[in-house]
């Protein structure tokens, strides 16, 4: 079931504060966050986030068509493993 529209998009309070601060100071520095569950709202656009994936912080640059998704969707938590030859090409992936 989807979330009630009445409530509006979910956003962690601590992340919201960081965004407001970044907007105010017009800083483009990446915002470090653990809040994978926060929904991307239009005022995120143009900012870079370092989103935790349980181990590392993956840089996510937010563009317009990411709005409505959650930050966690862009910071994968699993490494994709494949069988086969250990060629340089396969290792790079």
């Amino acid at each position: 079931m989807g979330r009630s529209i009445k409530k509006g998009p979910f956003l962690d309070q601590h992340l919201q504060e960081k965004i407001l601060k970044a907007k105010e100071t017009k800083s483009k520095a990446p915002i470090k966050t653990w809040s994978r569950r926060s929904m991307i709202t239009p005022d995120f656009v143009g900012l870079t986030f370092n989103v935790h994936n349980g181990k590392l912080f993956n840089p996510v640059f937010v563009t317009e068509n990411m709005v409505g998704h959650r930050l966690g969707e862009f910071s994968l938590t699993r490494t994709f493993k494949k069988h086969g030859a250990h060629t340089a090409k396969a290792e790079a992936k």
């Binding site: 563009t63 068509n65 990411m66 998704h69 966690g72 969707e73 862009f74 994968l76 994709f80 069988h83 086969g84 030859a85 250990h86």
Partner: protein, 131 residues
Amino acid sequence: MARILGVDIPGEKRIDIALRYIYGLGPSNSKVILARAQIDPSIRAKNLSEQQLSQIVHAIQEGKYVIEGDLRREIGMNLKRLQTIKCYRGVRHLRGLPVRGQRTQTNARTRKGPRKTVGVVRNPNAKTGIH
């Protein structure tokens, strides 16, 4: 053979079944369309008169159904959007794996296709031991 909306050629079937050969129209849509065009669903498609055909075409166009090429394009665009923004769903589509959290240790053959056995391939950089 009858032609409805250009390329679609439903065969010697009841018109309510034949309409389902149009990409984007299923059982319930076909029922609604025929009711709107006031045509008996049990008539064979080949026995429809020109006038009845145009009634059906009219009913489809009036109903604002997204069908055929437009629908295919729309679906393609949705996939492309997910893939270009590199979100989890897009990545799963790119890799041809299930998108909605299903298990992949076993099953998932619909997405992954036929089983491909990959034999042992020695790592050329590995140190060779004493055998």
